[in-house]
Symmetry: D2
Subunit: 314 residues, 4 copies
Amino acid sequence: MNLYPALQFAPIELVAVCDLDAERRERLRRRFGAEAAFDTVDALLAGPPLDALIVCGPPELHQDAAVKALDRGLHVLVEKPPATDLAGALAIQEAARRNSRHCMVGFMKRFASRYQQAHEISRSRVFGRLTHLTVKYAHWNVPDLSWMLTYMSVHAFDLIRFFAGDLARITVEHLEIGGQHSYACTAVAKSGAMVSLNTSSQEPRVKESVELVGEGELVLVRNVIELEYHRRVSPTRLFHSDLHDVQLLRPDFAIPNPDQNTLYLQGYAGELIEFANACLENRAPSVTIDDGVAAMRLVNLFASGQTGTFHLEE
Amino acid sequence: MNLYPALQFAPIELVAVCDLDAERRERLRRRFGAEAAFDTVDALLAGPPLDALIVCGPPELHQDAAVKALDRGLHVLVEKPPATDLAGALAIQEAARRNSRHCMVGFMKRFASRYQQAHEISRSRVFGRLTHLTVKYAHWNVPDLSWMLTYMSVHAFDLIRFFAGDLARITVEHLEIGGQHSYACTAVAKSGAMVSLNTSSQEPRVKESVELVGEGELVLVRNVIELEYHRRVSPTRLFHSDLHDVQLLRPDFAIPNPDQNTLYLQGYAGELIEFANACLENRAPSVTIDDGVAAMRLVNLFASGQTGTFHLEE
Amino acid sequence: MNLYPALQFAPIELVAVCDLDAERRERLRRRFGAEAAFDTVDALLAGPPLDALIVCGPPELHQDAAVKALDRGLHVLVEKPPATDLAGALAIQEAARRNSRHCMVGFMKRFASRYQQAHEISRSRVFGRLTHLTVKYAHWNVPDLSWMLTYMSVHAFDLIRFFAGDLARITVEHLEIGGQHSYACTAVAKSGAMVSLNTSSQEPRVKESVELVGEGELVLVRNVIELEYHRRVSPTRLFHSDLHDVQLLRPDFAIPNPDQNTLYLQGYAGELIEFANACLENRAPSVTIDDGVAAMRLVNLFASGQTGTFHLEE
Amino acid sequence: MNLYPALQFAPIELVAVCDLDAERRERLRRRFGAEAAFDTVDALLAGPPLDALIVCGPPELHQDAAVKALDRGLHVLVEKPPATDLAGALAIQEAARRNSRHCMVGFMKRFASRYQQAHEISRSRVFGRLTHLTVKYAHWNVPDLSWMLTYMSVHAFDLIRFFAGDLARITVEHLEIGGQHSYACTAVAKSGAMVSLNTSSQEPRVKESVELVGEGELVLVRNVIELEYHRRVSPTRLFHSDLHDVQLLRPDFAIPNPDQNTLYLQGYAGELIEFANACLENRAPSVTIDDGVAAMRLVNLFASGQTGTFHLEE
């Protein structure tokens, strides 16, 4: 739905596809123009020469395919979650290290157009230090807690680290009603920034928002696609709104170009472009299996059912 | 950028591509999984058996390719504008008629998710008769008036007919400053509904909005993707807002599914689905070359440079 | 509801109130701290010395009270509509002239915070010439057409003249369904700017919006209180949104100060401040009975039931 | 600015005003129609017979005036903060108790139109239990921490208790940069609901928002005046937006009536109406000095500079 269609935006040549389902395998091969199609990772890796492998399937597959490809000397982009558990993520991390290959994790939200811009604003001198980050990622009812944490909340865990860096400590409150889960958390990053996190399966559809506060400035991203940048106000103008106070970024959907394309707005295009460029330039991508491991540590913490304040070690 | 990626959503098998540019031709063939690639329409039509042809290129190509394909017995989806002038559109219309084939015109906006919903609301009994339609489609500076009318304003011309049907008369005011054009128009549809149209090349980026007023109800679509439905208010509650007064449809972009996909939101997916289904069911699609002809008549009227009130004959 | 409470923001001393209803008269006197209360305009004008009179009542009263006060040498602020018909407005105009007194008409929307700012932007060099003005003022069902035009649409008629100046010609289309009225109009101002006007009694509650287009710039005011200023975009950045493209003015309602106060946002405070200052400085206010006369000419035109294109003489 | 003008909406007769400043005292007396004006609370209380006293001044005044009035047998509405410290608030609480008089605290936000509606929705059966409350109240730089907590954050403290009831425990993180303060907190109410609180003096102007999550439903109030109610979505419609999913409440500011009046939208009118009705019906108002005491306990906790998790006793 997203990665195949986004391939066209990156300097990537699709050589082969791999899928257990024969019909889907052939359909994907034709629709996206691969030369070959395989039914197992082993067959794929024994096939035509490849520079890199993109792994997107059930998490059970991720670890196995990623490690095998790294051991073959390929760079790997593995969808989140990188594995079903922390041990699996660590195994991939180790495989990448021993083969000196790069393993990127598919946290595409880091590449969403508005988050890229919010990140850039938050690094500007005028913004000041990041004082407070708020991330909300709440959604529909889930089949079980593990599913929620590894497929959904993991996005929020990574966004926190994208914007605020590693956490020093986090306080977790948890409420379960009818098999659905809500987490309200306050954290402090190693940088000193405070973080509020809200992730739950008690909201209709999917609600996502991010707010970054600096020293007198605010940038917020609503619904992934709309950014408001509230500029510092001089103390003498506190009570009189001014045209220069708020800048707005909202795509004009009347026209079909990358600025309005969901694959760019949601980050899939940027993710593939970064992966391809990192491979071509033989450098680490901006988000790696190290970030996958860090996210899985938070998944583990939340899955433990414990509440209270936890100090995090990297 | 839009049609090729949207093919995946329709029951369409891409058999062959055709492009003058050898590199692009091959890239498209591979990326979207066609069997064959051709450099001319004639070669394409002499190639593997086809059910239908999708024509998307410079308008000079549209008429020629469409007529040839229709004469070969294929159904045709031709991008807007269907031809460079009204005569060309009429030639396609005639070719479709004499071959008893269907020719759809690529007015994808009719299939945009929110416009489909607004259309449906405006047809409901509770909405009452359509009393007023407002269409705004205004955008950046253009190279010349003909370009503006055939590539850009034509969308507005067709949207008016989609929502209000054929026009009985239209008053056109026109302002040219520095080679850029603004049109402000009031029209009356044969149904009696009044229409306000604003199209210009004097606005930054692209601004598109549609408002439909019934008898005491309002539905508006802002920026293609957001719909507000303002319900009839009882006279006794005029001054007290009520929860049931306004319903809002806004995609949650946090999740990548068709509801948020630009190809659906902007109508490309729906357009291809309608074309494919019409071909498979051997019925006329919901928008045909007749609509293309009607839009070209309005292009002609606007291009004439005349202002005043015009009575329109079909 | 609005003028009495807004008095506090202007350099106005309330000396006396006048109301037919004894209980209301006394309540107003006490609530807003007047010295005296009267039951007729004659008694009021024979009472304590006054600098100016504010007339707000049924339109039947406006003409009579305004003329009497002007003839007594008072400045007058008369609520819109200034009279029940054009002749009445002209009589007030004549009275102001022969007494060399100032008569302001209560078109408070001209003083609404956002309209003041939009007006200022539209006069700036960077905005270019005004090319297109769109005014929408549509609302609930009305008891009759005259009521709609004199109490409601008159606001739109005046806003058009505030932003675009006098009109040269106007095309009026009109639709009546079930005793309710919709007007769709296109006009051209003497300045050359085009104008779209939509006023009707077929919408739920009250919808008001204003859009001003310059040469490549757009400023729009939604719902009276929110302004967006879309800046000119360089041709090289057409397809990439930029932080500096759109500026937003939206009150922060969390705090109770004039920036958020409805009396300022809707213009009542500004109207009274302008009237008081004009009296104190013995100059004409920025909106006078001449504007009232012009608005009544449009009321007359719309009330005539004629449709078509009309050339307007001042 | 707010209470005097809002008096007109409540069944309140303003008998006397009291102000240290002679000119302001007289101006207020005249503008709002009081019979008498006094320069001290003692003189006021020795003056004309009163049913109730509204105390609004510097917090130093609140306790003294409130206790004296209660001891005289008057009901009292005291602005927030009710006193400069917790001891002061307790003294008022004790005075109310011993005199069997009612003391309301001016937490006007509880009476803001949208918060009243959000509160009502959150109590409905379909909403389910309140699972998560988020309150943000962040604003400009402050002169010092005590000022911030007693004048500003106290609103957030009270809103939390309004929506979620008493808290069982709260975790407080605090960051001070350049004399400005940010607090990020997670709390659990006695009801089990989780609470996220963000209050800081590092944002431009004043940002206020409230979100309430039930079991599959969400109601949020943005910028005090706009409410969105996101309804429960059936699992089979997760990926297809539906017209009935989101209801929107946004005032139409085109018309000046209570629904759009800032004094209603921000709660001042509702606060005075509740106080007057409680006095007339001789019942406790819906928010009392008990709530003022609870808010002052939170002020104290935040002012202590301690971070960590605190268990709260009532």
